[in-house]
Protein backbone atom coordinates (compact mmCIF):
# COMPACT_ATOMS: atom_id res chain seq x y z
CA UNK A 1 0.00 0.00 0.00
CA UNK A 2 1.15 3.46 -0.87
CA UNK A 3 1.01 4.88 2.63
CA UNK A 4 3.61 2.41 3.85
CA UNK A 5 6.18 4.25 1.78
CA UNK A 6 5.52 7.68 3.23
CA UNK A 7 8.32 8.59 5.59
CA UNK A 8 7.55 10.26 8.87
CA UNK A 9 10.14 11.94 11.01
CA UNK A 10 9.85 10.53 14.50
CA UNK A 11 10.63 12.88 17.33
CA UNK A 12 9.76 11.81 20.86
CA UNK A 13 10.80 15.00 22.60
CA UNK A 14 11.58 15.30 26.28
CA UNK A 15 8.29 17.11 26.87
CA UNK A 16 6.36 14.37 25.05
CA UNK A 17 8.14 11.65 27.02
CA UNK A 18 7.33 13.49 30.24
CA UNK A 19 3.66 13.56 29.25
CA UNK A 20 3.74 9.86 28.36
CA UNK A 21 5.22 9.07 31.75
CA UNK A 22 2.54 11.13 33.44
CA UNK A 23 -0.12 9.17 31.55
CA UNK A 24 1.54 5.89 32.49
CA UNK A 25 1.35 6.88 36.17
CA UNK A 26 -2.46 6.74 35.91
CA UNK A 27 -2.46 2.94 35.61
CA UNK A 28 -0.99 0.13 37.69
CA UNK A 29 2.66 -0.56 36.83
CA UNK A 30 1.80 -3.91 35.22
CA UNK A 31 -1.02 -2.40 33.09
CA UNK A 32 0.96 -0.10 30.81
CA UNK A 33 -1.12 -1.13 27.83
CA UNK A 34 -4.08 0.71 29.37
CA UNK A 35 -2.36 4.00 28.58
CA UNK A 36 -2.36 3.21 24.86
CA UNK A 37 -5.23 5.43 23.71
CA UNK A 38 -4.24 8.56 25.65
CA UNK A 39 -0.60 8.06 24.62
CA UNK A 40 -1.55 7.67 20.95
CA UNK A 41 -3.43 10.98 21.07
CA UNK A 42 -0.43 12.85 22.40
CA UNK A 43 2.03 11.12 20.07
CA UNK A 44 -0.17 11.78 17.04
CA UNK A 45 -0.66 15.46 18.00
CA UNK A 46 3.12 15.85 18.12
CA UNK A 47 3.57 14.24 14.69
CA UNK A 48 1.41 16.23 12.25
CA UNK A 49 -1.72 14.34 13.26
CA UNK A 50 -0.89 10.93 11.80
CA UNK A 51 0.77 7.68 12.80
CA UNK A 52 3.14 5.83 10.47
CA UNK A 53 4.00 2.17 11.01
CA UNK A 54 7.38 3.27 12.36
CA UNK A 55 5.73 5.61 14.84
CA UNK A 56 3.31 2.92 15.98
CA UNK A 57 6.27 0.59 16.46
CA UNK A 58 7.88 3.25 18.63
CA UNK A 59 4.73 3.51 20.78
CA UNK A 60 4.75 -0.28 21.17
CA UNK A 61 8.34 -0.13 22.32
CA UNK A 62 7.58 2.58 24.92
CA UNK A 63 4.56 0.72 26.31
CA UNK A 64 6.34 -2.65 26.16
CA UNK A 65 3.65 -4.27 24.02
CA UNK A 66 3.69 -5.97 20.62
CA UNK A 67 3.40 -3.77 17.51
CA UNK A 68 0.23 -5.62 16.45
CA UNK A 69 -1.43 -4.50 19.68
CA UNK A 70 -0.94 -0.90 18.55
CA UNK A 71 -1.92 -1.48 14.90
CA UNK A 72 -5.18 -3.20 15.81
CA UNK A 73 -6.16 -0.34 18.08
CA UNK A 74 -5.17 2.41 15.66
CA UNK A 75 -7.20 0.80 12.89
CA UNK A 76 -10.26 0.39 15.13
CA UNK A 77 -10.70 3.95 16.37
CA UNK A 78 -11.61 6.75 13.98
CA UNK A 79 -9.50 9.49 15.54
CA UNK A 80 -6.17 7.96 14.58
CA UNK A 81 -4.91 8.66 11.07
CA UNK A 82 -2.71 6.21 9.20
CA UNK A 83 -1.78 8.63 6.43
CA UNK A 84 -0.79 12.30 6.27
CA UNK A 85 -3.80 14.59 6.63
CA UNK A 86 -4.52 18.26 6.06
CA UNK A 87 -3.18 20.50 8.80
CA UNK A 88 -6.62 21.97 9.44
CA UNK A 89 -9.03 19.07 9.33
CA UNK A 90 -12.65 20.21 9.16
CA UNK A 91 -14.49 17.18 10.52
CA UNK A 92 -18.16 17.87 9.95
CA UNK A 93 -20.68 15.86 11.91
CA UNK A 94 -22.96 14.32 9.28
CA UNK A 95 -25.34 12.40 11.52
CA UNK A 96 -29.04 13.14 11.29
CA UNK A 97 -29.54 15.95 13.86
CA UNK A 98 -26.84 17.95 12.07
CA UNK A 99 -28.39 17.12 8.68
CA UNK A 100 -31.70 18.54 9.91
CA UNK A 101 -29.85 21.83 10.33
CA UNK A 102 -28.23 21.77 6.90
CA UNK A 103 -24.76 20.30 7.38
CA UNK A 104 -24.76 18.51 4.01
CA UNK A 105 -25.17 21.72 2.03
CA UNK A 106 -22.58 23.41 4.23
CA UNK A 107 -20.07 20.62 3.52
CA UNK A 108 -20.68 21.06 -0.20
CA UNK A 109 -20.06 24.79 0.23
CA UNK A 110 -16.81 24.21 2.11
CA UNK A 111 -15.52 21.67 -0.40
CA UNK A 112 -16.32 24.01 -3.31
CA UNK A 113 -14.62 26.89 -1.57
CA UNK A 114 -11.47 24.87 -0.93
CA UNK A 115 -11.64 23.12 -4.30
CA UNK A 116 -11.47 19.63 -2.79
CA UNK A 117 -13.55 16.52 -2.37
CA UNK A 118 -14.34 15.03 1.04
CA UNK A 119 -11.29 13.15 2.32
CA UNK A 120 -8.74 14.76 0.00
CA UNK A 121 -6.32 17.30 1.46
CA UNK A 122 -5.74 20.56 -0.44
CA UNK A 123 -2.60 20.57 -2.60
CA UNK A 124 -0.76 22.74 -0.06
CA UNK A 125 -1.68 20.31 2.73
CA UNK A 126 -3.41 23.08 4.69
CA UNK A 127 -7.01 21.82 4.70
CA UNK A 128 -9.03 18.67 4.56
CA UNK A 129 -12.80 18.18 4.79
CA UNK A 130 -14.20 15.03 6.34
CA UNK A 131 -17.63 13.75 7.25
CA UNK A 132 -17.70 12.02 10.62
CA UNK A 133 -20.40 10.47 12.78
CA UNK A 134 -22.18 12.09 15.73
CA UNK A 135 -19.89 14.31 17.77
CA UNK A 136 -22.36 15.04 20.59
CA UNK A 137 -23.23 18.61 19.69
CA UNK A 138 -26.65 18.04 18.11
CA UNK A 139 -28.21 21.13 19.70
CA UNK A 140 -25.54 23.38 18.23
CA UNK A 141 -25.75 22.06 14.68
CA UNK A 142 -24.36 22.33 12.10
CA UNK A 143 -20.93 21.85 13.59
CA UNK A 144 -17.45 20.46 13.08
CA UNK A 145 -14.46 19.36 15.08
CA UNK A 146 -11.23 21.23 14.43
CA UNK A 147 -8.32 19.90 16.46
CA UNK A 148 -9.31 19.61 20.13
CA UNK A 149 -12.24 21.97 19.78
CA UNK A 150 -15.75 22.16 18.34
CA UNK A 151 -16.90 24.91 16.00
CA UNK A 152 -20.67 25.15 16.41
CA UNK A 153 -23.78 26.82 14.98
CA UNK A 154 -21.91 27.12 11.69
CA UNK A 155 -22.97 29.27 8.75
CA UNK A 156 -21.33 29.99 5.40
CA UNK A 157 -19.99 33.26 6.82
CA UNK A 158 -18.44 31.44 9.77
CA UNK A 159 -16.81 28.93 7.42
CA UNK A 160 -15.32 31.80 5.39
CA UNK A 161 -13.98 33.39 8.57
CA UNK A 162 -12.58 30.12 9.85
CA UNK A 163 -10.71 29.43 6.62
CA UNK A 164 -9.27 32.96 6.71
CA UNK A 165 -8.24 32.53 10.37
CA UNK A 166 -6.54 29.21 9.58
CA UNK A 167 -4.61 30.82 6.74
CA UNK A 168 -3.58 33.64 9.11
CA UNK A 169 -2.39 31.10 11.66
CA UNK A 170 -4.93 32.34 14.23
CA UNK A 171 -6.52 28.98 15.01
CA UNK A 172 -5.30 26.95 17.97
CA UNK A 173 -5.58 23.23 17.30
CA UNK A 174 -4.48 21.66 20.54
CA UNK A 175 -5.02 22.42 24.21
CA UNK A 176 -1.74 21.37 25.79
Amino acid sequence: MERLHIKQEINITEALMERINELLSHYPADKKKSALLPVLHDVQDAHDNWLSVELMDKVAEILEIKPIEVYEVVSFYTMFNQRPVGKYMFEFCQTSPCCLRGVENLMDYTCDKLGVKVGEPTADGMFEVRGVECLGACGYAPMMQLGDFFQENLTKDKIDQLIADCRDNKVILHDK
Binding site: S34, L37, Y77, M79, Q94, E133, G136, D148
Partner: protein, 455 residues
Protein backbone atom coordinates in the same frame (compact mmCIF):
# COMPACT_ATOMS: atom_id res chain seq x y z
CA UNK B 1 -39.52 26.59 37.39
CA UNK B 2 -38.92 22.96 38.09
CA UNK B 3 -36.46 21.68 40.62
CA UNK B 4 -32.81 21.60 39.59
CA UNK B 5 -30.40 19.19 41.16
CA UNK B 6 -27.59 18.82 38.66
CA UNK B 7 -27.51 22.20 36.96
CA UNK B 8 -28.71 24.31 39.90
CA UNK B 9 -25.25 25.82 40.34
CA UNK B 10 -24.04 25.55 36.75
CA UNK B 11 -24.67 29.23 36.02
CA UNK B 12 -22.71 30.57 39.03
CA UNK B 13 -19.75 32.54 37.64
CA UNK B 14 -16.50 30.65 38.14
CA UNK B 15 -18.18 27.39 39.25
CA UNK B 16 -15.73 25.51 37.02
CA UNK B 17 -12.99 26.29 39.53
CA UNK B 18 -12.48 24.43 42.75
CA UNK B 19 -12.66 27.51 45.00
CA UNK B 20 -16.05 28.69 43.76
CA UNK B 21 -17.45 25.18 43.70
CA UNK B 22 -16.32 24.61 47.28
CA UNK B 23 -17.66 28.00 48.46
CA UNK B 24 -21.04 26.98 47.09
CA UNK B 25 -21.31 23.83 49.15
CA UNK B 26 -19.28 21.56 46.91
CA UNK B 27 -17.75 18.36 48.29
CA UNK B 28 -20.18 18.35 51.26
CA UNK B 29 -21.36 14.85 50.28
CA UNK B 30 -17.80 13.53 50.53
CA UNK B 31 -17.48 14.91 54.05
CA UNK B 32 -20.85 13.52 55.06
CA UNK B 33 -20.29 10.07 53.56
CA UNK B 34 -16.71 9.53 54.68
CA UNK B 35 -17.19 10.92 58.19
CA UNK B 36 -20.66 9.75 59.15
CA UNK B 37 -21.76 6.90 56.90
CA UNK B 38 -20.55 3.40 56.12
CA UNK B 39 -20.13 2.50 52.44
CA UNK B 40 -23.17 0.25 52.60
CA UNK B 41 -25.24 3.08 54.05
CA UNK B 42 -24.39 5.17 50.99
CA UNK B 43 -25.49 2.28 48.76
CA UNK B 44 -28.77 2.08 50.70
CA UNK B 45 -29.46 5.80 50.20
CA UNK B 46 -28.93 5.47 46.46
CA UNK B 47 -31.20 2.41 46.42
CA UNK B 48 -33.87 4.36 48.32
CA UNK B 49 -33.63 7.25 45.84
CA UNK B 50 -34.90 5.09 43.00
CA UNK B 51 -32.22 6.62 40.75
CA UNK B 52 -32.10 4.77 37.44
CA UNK B 53 -29.12 4.65 35.09
CA UNK B 54 -29.14 7.81 33.02
CA UNK B 55 -27.08 6.47 30.13
CA UNK B 56 -30.12 4.95 28.49
CA UNK B 57 -30.87 1.54 29.96
CA UNK B 58 -32.58 2.88 33.09
CA UNK B 59 -31.34 0.10 35.36
CA UNK B 60 -31.57 1.05 39.08
CA UNK B 61 -28.17 2.44 40.10
CA UNK B 62 -28.28 1.33 43.75
CA UNK B 63 -29.15 -2.20 42.73
CA UNK B 64 -26.25 -2.26 40.25
CA UNK B 65 -23.94 -1.13 43.05
CA UNK B 66 -25.19 -3.85 45.36
CA UNK B 67 -24.03 -6.52 42.87
CA UNK B 68 -20.37 -5.56 43.16
CA UNK B 69 -18.26 -8.34 44.57
CA UNK B 70 -16.84 -7.12 47.88
CA UNK B 71 -16.00 -10.60 49.15
CA UNK B 72 -13.29 -11.79 46.79
CA UNK B 73 -10.83 -9.27 48.16
CA UNK B 74 -9.85 -8.12 44.67
CA UNK B 75 -9.41 -4.39 44.05
CA UNK B 76 -12.66 -2.72 42.99
CA UNK B 77 -13.15 0.07 40.45
CA UNK B 78 -15.77 2.63 39.59
CA UNK B 79 -15.66 3.69 35.96
CA UNK B 80 -17.66 6.66 34.80
CA UNK B 81 -19.06 6.29 31.31
CA UNK B 82 -18.56 9.65 29.62
CA UNK B 83 -18.36 8.14 26.13
CA UNK B 84 -21.50 10.02 25.18
CA UNK B 85 -22.04 9.13 21.50
CA UNK B 86 -25.70 8.27 20.96
CA UNK B 87 -26.93 10.58 18.21
CA UNK B 88 -29.10 13.25 19.76
CA UNK B 89 -27.32 13.11 23.12
CA UNK B 90 -25.01 15.86 24.42
CA UNK B 91 -26.04 16.29 28.06
CA UNK B 92 -23.03 14.76 29.84
CA UNK B 93 -20.72 17.02 27.94
CA UNK B 94 -22.67 20.05 29.21
CA UNK B 95 -22.44 18.88 32.79
CA UNK B 96 -18.71 18.10 32.60
CA UNK B 97 -17.90 21.30 30.77
CA UNK B 98 -19.78 23.68 33.04
CA UNK B 99 -19.63 22.00 36.46
CA UNK B 100 -16.80 19.45 36.35
CA UNK B 101 -16.33 19.26 40.11
CA UNK B 102 -19.85 17.90 40.54
CA UNK B 103 -18.81 14.79 38.62
CA UNK B 104 -15.58 14.50 40.58
CA UNK B 105 -17.45 14.86 43.88
CA UNK B 106 -19.90 12.19 42.72
CA UNK B 107 -17.01 9.91 41.75
CA UNK B 108 -15.43 10.20 45.20
CA UNK B 109 -18.67 9.60 47.13
CA UNK B 110 -19.68 6.74 44.83
CA UNK B 111 -16.22 5.13 44.89
CA UNK B 112 -16.40 5.21 48.68
CA UNK B 113 -19.77 3.42 48.55
CA UNK B 114 -18.22 0.71 46.37
CA UNK B 115 -15.02 0.65 48.47
CA UNK B 116 -13.05 1.30 45.31
CA UNK B 117 -9.59 2.83 45.55
CA UNK B 118 -8.85 3.37 41.86
CA UNK B 119 -11.47 4.88 39.60
CA UNK B 120 -11.64 6.32 36.10
CA UNK B 121 -13.70 8.67 34.00
CA UNK B 122 -13.73 7.34 30.42
CA UNK B 123 -14.50 10.24 28.10
CA UNK B 124 -14.86 10.06 24.34
CA UNK B 125 -11.75 11.35 22.57
CA UNK B 126 -13.67 13.93 20.55
CA UNK B 127 -14.47 15.77 23.79
CA UNK B 128 -10.77 16.56 24.08
CA UNK B 129 -11.21 20.02 25.54
CA UNK B 130 -13.57 18.58 28.18
CA UNK B 131 -10.96 15.91 28.93
CA UNK B 132 -8.54 18.75 29.68
CA UNK B 133 -11.12 20.50 31.88
CA UNK B 134 -11.58 17.32 33.90
CA UNK B 135 -7.86 16.65 34.06
CA UNK B 136 -7.29 20.12 35.56
CA UNK B 137 -10.25 19.80 37.93
CA UNK B 138 -8.93 16.46 39.19
CA UNK B 139 -5.56 18.08 39.88
CA UNK B 140 -7.35 20.78 41.90
CA UNK B 141 -9.21 18.12 43.87
CA UNK B 142 -5.93 16.30 44.63
CA UNK B 143 -4.32 19.57 45.74
CA UNK B 144 -7.23 20.28 48.09
CA UNK B 145 -7.00 16.83 49.68
CA UNK B 146 -10.18 15.26 48.27
CA UNK B 147 -8.22 12.62 46.39
CA UNK B 148 -5.15 10.60 47.24
CA UNK B 149 -4.23 8.92 50.50
CA UNK B 150 -6.15 9.16 53.78
CA UNK B 151 -8.85 11.54 52.53
CA UNK B 152 -10.09 13.85 55.35
CA UNK B 153 -8.06 11.76 57.76
CA UNK B 154 -10.58 8.93 57.49
CA UNK B 155 -8.14 6.36 56.16
CA UNK B 156 -9.96 6.14 52.83
CA UNK B 157 -7.69 6.23 49.76
CA UNK B 158 -8.81 7.02 46.25
CA UNK B 159 -7.00 7.70 43.00
CA UNK B 160 -9.10 9.12 40.18
CA UNK B 161 -8.02 9.68 36.59
CA UNK B 162 -9.64 10.69 33.35
CA UNK B 163 -9.02 8.47 30.32
CA UNK B 164 -9.85 9.40 26.73
CA UNK B 165 -11.19 7.13 24.01
CA UNK B 166 -10.29 7.19 20.34
CA UNK B 167 -13.59 7.63 18.54
CA UNK B 168 -15.92 4.63 18.73
CA UNK B 169 -19.62 4.67 19.66
CA UNK B 170 -19.43 1.06 20.76
CA UNK B 171 -17.24 2.01 23.73
CA UNK B 172 -20.37 3.40 25.38
CA UNK B 173 -21.34 -0.25 25.94
CA UNK B 174 -19.90 -0.98 29.34
CA UNK B 175 -17.86 -4.08 28.54
CA UNK B 176 -16.49 -2.49 25.34
CA UNK B 177 -15.60 0.53 27.43
CA UNK B 178 -13.67 -1.69 29.82
CA UNK B 179 -11.82 -3.33 26.91
CA UNK B 180 -10.96 0.11 25.60
CA UNK B 181 -9.76 1.23 29.01
CA UNK B 182 -7.45 -1.78 28.94
CA UNK B 183 -5.94 -0.43 25.72
CA UNK B 184 -7.74 -2.75 23.31
CA UNK B 185 -10.26 -2.54 20.49
CA UNK B 186 -13.76 -1.84 21.77
CA UNK B 187 -15.23 -5.30 21.37
CA UNK B 188 -18.04 -6.00 23.86
CA UNK B 189 -17.57 -9.02 26.10
CA UNK B 190 -19.96 -11.91 26.46
CA UNK B 191 -21.89 -11.63 29.72
CA UNK B 192 -21.81 -13.30 32.22
CA UNK B 193 -19.48 -12.67 33.93
CA UNK B 194 -20.83 -9.20 34.54
CA UNK B 195 -18.41 -6.37 35.31
CA UNK B 196 -19.60 -6.36 38.93
CA UNK B 197 -17.75 -9.68 39.24
CA UNK B 198 -15.09 -9.41 36.53
CA UNK B 199 -14.59 -6.04 34.91
CA UNK B 200 -11.53 -3.83 34.53
CA UNK B 201 -8.41 -6.07 34.65
CA UNK B 202 -10.77 -8.85 35.81
CA UNK B 203 -11.54 -6.90 38.98
CA UNK B 204 -15.08 -6.16 40.23
CA UNK B 205 -16.17 -2.98 38.46
CA UNK B 206 -19.19 -0.74 38.27
CA UNK B 207 -19.74 1.39 35.18
CA UNK B 208 -22.14 4.32 35.58
CA UNK B 209 -23.17 7.20 33.36
CA UNK B 210 -21.97 10.75 34.15
CA UNK B 211 -25.45 11.97 35.01
CA UNK B 212 -26.11 9.06 37.38
CA UNK B 213 -22.90 9.73 39.30
CA UNK B 214 -23.55 13.47 39.37
CA UNK B 215 -26.89 12.84 41.12
CA UNK B 216 -25.23 11.00 44.01
CA UNK B 217 -23.96 14.09 45.94
CA UNK B 218 -27.50 15.50 46.19
CA UNK B 219 -28.87 12.11 47.27
CA UNK B 220 -26.25 11.75 49.99
CA UNK B 221 -26.73 15.34 51.20
CA UNK B 222 -30.53 15.26 51.17
CA UNK B 223 -31.31 11.52 51.55
CA UNK B 224 -32.63 9.05 49.02
CA UNK B 225 -36.14 9.48 50.39
CA UNK B 226 -36.12 13.17 49.47
CA UNK B 227 -34.87 12.36 45.96
CA UNK B 228 -37.63 9.79 45.54
CA UNK B 229 -40.22 12.51 46.20
CA UNK B 230 -39.23 14.20 42.95
CA UNK B 231 -40.78 12.74 39.81
CA UNK B 232 -43.60 10.25 39.36
CA UNK B 233 -43.79 6.57 40.33
CA UNK B 234 -40.67 4.65 39.33
CA UNK B 235 -39.36 7.65 37.42
CA UNK B 236 -37.80 9.48 40.34
CA UNK B 237 -35.66 12.59 40.29
CA UNK B 238 -34.60 14.90 37.53
CA UNK B 239 -33.26 14.12 34.07
CA UNK B 240 -31.08 16.00 31.68
CA UNK B 241 -32.63 16.21 28.24
CA UNK B 242 -30.59 17.27 25.24
CA UNK B 243 -32.87 18.66 22.57
CA UNK B 244 -32.05 19.11 18.90
CA UNK B 245 -33.67 19.31 15.48
CA UNK B 246 -36.39 21.67 14.32
CA UNK B 247 -37.13 23.45 17.59
CA UNK B 248 -36.73 27.07 18.62
CA UNK B 249 -34.49 26.54 21.64
CA UNK B 250 -32.20 23.53 21.23
CA UNK B 251 -29.91 22.77 24.16
CA UNK B 252 -29.63 20.92 27.47
CA UNK B 253 -32.45 21.09 30.02
CA UNK B 254 -32.88 19.61 33.46
CA UNK B 255 -36.48 18.53 33.94
CA UNK B 256 -38.37 16.87 36.75
CA UNK B 257 -39.46 13.49 35.46
CA UNK B 258 -43.21 13.66 34.93
CA UNK B 259 -43.28 16.90 32.95
CA UNK B 260 -45.65 16.58 30.01
CA UNK B 261 -44.13 16.26 26.54
CA UNK B 262 -46.45 19.06 25.42
CA UNK B 263 -45.11 21.49 28.02
CA UNK B 264 -41.52 20.50 27.32
CA UNK B 265 -41.97 20.98 23.59
CA UNK B 266 -43.98 24.15 23.58
CA UNK B 267 -43.37 26.26 26.68
CA UNK B 268 -40.89 29.11 26.47
CA UNK B 269 -39.08 27.76 29.54
CA UNK B 270 -38.06 24.76 27.43
CA UNK B 271 -38.03 24.20 23.69
CA UNK B 272 -40.35 27.06 22.72
CA UNK B 273 -42.15 25.17 19.96
CA UNK B 274 -41.22 24.51 16.37
CA UNK B 275 -38.74 26.59 14.41
CA UNK B 276 -40.55 28.85 11.91
CA UNK B 277 -43.79 27.48 13.41
CA UNK B 278 -43.82 24.63 10.90
CA UNK B 279 -45.87 21.49 11.66
CA UNK B 280 -44.45 18.81 13.94
CA UNK B 281 -43.95 15.56 12.01
CA UNK B 282 -42.11 13.16 14.30
CA UNK B 283 -39.84 12.88 17.32
CA UNK B 284 -37.24 10.58 18.78
CA UNK B 285 -37.32 11.01 22.57
CA UNK B 286 -34.28 9.07 23.74
CA UNK B 287 -31.45 9.05 21.23
CA UNK B 288 -31.26 7.59 17.73
CA UNK B 289 -31.76 3.98 18.76
CA UNK B 290 -35.23 4.37 20.26
CA UNK B 291 -38.32 4.18 18.05
CA UNK B 292 -39.39 7.32 16.18
CA UNK B 293 -43.00 8.33 16.81
CA UNK B 294 -45.36 10.18 14.45
CA UNK B 295 -47.09 13.43 15.45
CA UNK B 296 -50.32 11.78 16.62
CA UNK B 297 -48.48 9.69 19.25
CA UNK B 298 -46.28 12.43 20.70
CA UNK B 299 -48.50 14.46 23.04
CA UNK B 300 -50.94 11.65 23.77
CA UNK B 301 -50.51 7.92 24.17
CA UNK B 302 -52.62 5.53 22.09
CA UNK B 303 -55.06 5.47 25.04
CA UNK B 304 -55.50 9.22 24.86
CA UNK B 305 -53.58 9.94 28.07
CA UNK B 306 -51.10 12.80 28.25
CA UNK B 307 -47.64 11.62 27.24
CA UNK B 308 -45.19 12.43 30.05
CA UNK B 309 -41.42 12.62 30.21
CA UNK B 310 -41.03 9.43 32.25
CA UNK B 311 -39.60 5.98 31.58
CA UNK B 312 -43.12 4.52 31.74
CA UNK B 313 -45.15 7.03 29.76
CA UNK B 314 -42.71 7.32 26.85
CA UNK B 315 -42.75 3.55 26.49
CA UNK B 316 -46.52 3.27 26.94
CA UNK B 317 -47.97 1.05 24.23
CA UNK B 318 -44.73 -0.86 23.72
CA UNK B 319 -43.05 -0.47 20.37
CA UNK B 320 -46.44 -0.53 18.59
CA UNK B 321 -47.35 2.98 19.75
CA UNK B 322 -44.59 3.97 22.21
CA UNK B 323 -40.87 4.59 22.39
CA UNK B 324 -38.34 4.99 25.25
CA UNK B 325 -36.82 7.72 27.43
CA UNK B 326 -33.38 6.24 26.65
CA UNK B 327 -30.55 8.72 27.03
CA UNK B 328 -32.83 11.74 26.85
CA UNK B 329 -31.62 12.62 23.35
CA UNK B 330 -34.71 14.44 22.13
CA UNK B 331 -34.74 14.94 18.34
CA UNK B 332 -37.62 16.82 16.74
CA UNK B 333 -38.59 16.71 13.05
CA UNK B 334 -40.84 19.10 11.16
CA UNK B 335 -42.65 18.45 7.90
CA UNK B 336 -39.56 19.19 5.77
CA UNK B 337 -37.68 16.19 7.20
CA UNK B 338 -37.54 12.95 5.26
CA UNK B 339 -38.00 9.86 7.42
CA UNK B 340 -36.38 7.61 4.80
CA UNK B 341 -33.30 9.82 4.64
CA UNK B 342 -33.15 10.03 8.43
CA UNK B 343 -33.40 6.25 8.73
CA UNK B 344 -30.70 5.72 6.10
CA UNK B 345 -28.50 8.18 8.00
CA UNK B 346 -28.98 6.31 11.29
CA UNK B 347 -28.30 2.97 9.58
CA UNK B 348 -25.08 4.34 8.11
CA UNK B 349 -24.13 5.41 11.63
CA UNK B 350 -24.72 1.95 13.11
CA UNK B 351 -22.97 0.23 10.22
CA UNK B 352 -19.97 2.51 10.73
CA UNK B 353 -19.99 1.90 14.48
CA UNK B 354 -20.56 -1.87 14.52
CA UNK B 355 -17.49 -3.51 16.05
CA UNK B 356 -17.84 -6.44 13.65
CA UNK B 357 -17.84 -9.31 16.13
CA UNK B 358 -21.36 -10.61 15.49
CA UNK B 359 -22.43 -11.43 11.92
CA UNK B 360 -26.07 -10.27 12.27
CA UNK B 361 -24.88 -6.80 13.23
CA UNK B 362 -21.75 -6.55 11.06
CA UNK B 363 -23.55 -7.74 7.91
CA UNK B 364 -27.09 -6.68 8.77
CA UNK B 365 -26.26 -3.03 9.45
CA UNK B 366 -24.47 -2.90 6.10
CA UNK B 367 -27.46 -4.35 4.31
CA UNK B 368 -29.80 -1.91 6.03
CA UNK B 369 -27.59 0.98 4.97
CA UNK B 370 -27.35 -0.21 1.36
CA UNK B 371 -31.04 -0.91 0.89
CA UNK B 372 -32.05 2.36 2.53
CA UNK B 373 -29.50 4.23 0.43
CA UNK B 374 -30.95 2.90 -2.79
CA UNK B 375 -34.52 3.72 -1.74
CA UNK B 376 -33.50 7.25 -0.73
CA UNK B 377 -31.67 7.70 -4.02
CA UNK B 378 -34.53 6.61 -6.25
CA UNK B 379 -33.42 3.06 -7.00
CA UNK B 380 -35.68 1.30 -4.52
CA UNK B 381 -37.88 -1.67 -5.30
CA UNK B 382 -41.30 -2.35 -3.87
CA UNK B 383 -40.05 -5.49 -2.10
CA UNK B 384 -37.22 -3.55 -0.42
CA UNK B 385 -39.52 -2.39 2.35
CA UNK B 386 -40.28 -5.96 3.41
CA UNK B 387 -36.62 -6.81 2.95
CA UNK B 388 -35.69 -4.08 5.43
CA UNK B 389 -38.23 -5.42 7.88
CA UNK B 390 -36.79 -8.89 7.52
CA UNK B 391 -33.19 -7.76 8.00
CA UNK B 392 -33.88 -5.73 11.12
CA UNK B 393 -35.87 -8.59 12.65
CA UNK B 394 -32.90 -10.91 12.18
CA UNK B 395 -30.47 -8.53 13.89
CA UNK B 396 -32.61 -7.82 16.94
CA UNK B 397 -31.77 -10.06 19.88
CA UNK B 398 -29.07 -11.96 18.01
CA UNK B 399 -25.96 -10.07 19.05
CA UNK B 400 -23.61 -9.96 22.03
CA UNK B 401 -24.36 -6.34 22.85
CA UNK B 402 -27.33 -4.00 22.36
CA UNK B 403 -25.85 -2.23 19.30
CA UNK B 404 -27.71 -4.72 17.12
CA UNK B 405 -31.03 -3.82 18.71
CA UNK B 406 -30.14 -0.14 18.53
CA UNK B 407 -29.61 -0.49 14.78
CA UNK B 408 -32.77 -2.52 14.22
CA UNK B 409 -35.31 -0.49 16.21
CA UNK B 410 -35.18 2.80 14.28
CA UNK B 411 -35.68 0.95 10.99
CA UNK B 412 -38.61 -1.05 12.35
CA UNK B 413 -40.26 2.05 13.80
CA UNK B 414 -39.82 4.06 10.61
CA UNK B 415 -41.53 1.35 8.56
CA UNK B 416 -44.20 0.80 11.21
CA UNK B 417 -45.26 4.45 11.33
CA UNK B 418 -44.14 5.88 7.99
CA UNK B 419 -44.49 3.04 5.49
CA UNK B 420 -46.23 5.26 2.95
CA UNK B 421 -43.17 7.51 2.84
CA UNK B 422 -41.03 4.53 1.82
CA UNK B 423 -43.60 3.60 -0.83
CA UNK B 424 -43.53 7.16 -2.15
CA UNK B 425 -39.76 6.95 -2.54
CA UNK B 426 -40.02 3.68 -4.45
CA UNK B 427 -42.91 4.79 -6.68
CA UNK B 428 -41.83 8.36 -7.45
CA UNK B 429 -38.07 8.27 -7.83
CA UNK B 430 -38.02 11.39 -9.99
CA UNK B 431 -39.55 13.42 -7.14
CA UNK B 432 -36.88 12.62 -4.56
CA UNK B 433 -33.77 13.35 -6.59
CA UNK B 434 -32.82 16.42 -4.56
CA UNK B 435 -31.68 15.67 -0.99
CA UNK B 436 -33.99 18.42 0.26
CA UNK B 437 -37.01 16.92 -1.53
CA UNK B 438 -39.46 17.59 1.28
CA UNK B 439 -38.29 21.14 1.94
CA UNK B 440 -40.21 22.65 -0.95
CA UNK B 441 -42.87 19.97 -1.12
CA UNK B 442 -43.55 18.36 2.27
CA UNK B 443 -44.74 14.78 2.20
CA UNK B 444 -48.18 15.81 3.46
CA UNK B 445 -48.76 17.54 0.12
CA UNK B 446 -47.90 14.49 -1.98
CA UNK B 447 -49.08 11.69 0.31
CA UNK B 448 -52.27 11.29 -1.75
CA UNK B 449 -50.18 10.16 -4.75
CA UNK B 450 -48.89 7.04 -2.99
CA UNK B 451 -52.08 5.02 -3.23
CA UNK B 452 -52.66 5.90 -6.86
CA UNK B 453 -49.62 4.27 -8.33
CA UNK B 454 -48.00 0.93 -7.86
CA UNK B 455 -44.99 -0.32 -9.68
Amino acid sequence: MSKKILLEKASIPGIKTYEVYRQNGGYASVEKALKSMTPDEVVEEVKASGLRGRGGAGFPTGLKWSFIDKKSGKPRHLVCNADESEPGTFKDRFLMEYIPHLLIEGMITSSYALEANLSYIYIRGEYMWVYKILERAIKEAYAAGWLGKNILGTGYNLDLYVHCGGGAYICGEETALIESLEGKRGNPRIKPPFPAVSGLWSNPTVVNNVESIAAVPWIVNNTGAEYAKIGIGRSTGTKLISASGHIKNPGVYEIELGLSVDEFMNSDEYLGGMIDDRPLKAFVPGGSSVPVLPANLIYKTANGEDRLMTYESLSDGGFATGSMLGSGGFIVYNDTACIVRNTWNFSRFYHHESCGQCSPCREGTGWLEKVLHRIENGHGREEDIDLLWSIQSKIEGNTICPLGDAAAWPVAAAIRHFRDEFEYHVRFPEKIKNRDHFVNEPFEKVRHLVGKQTV
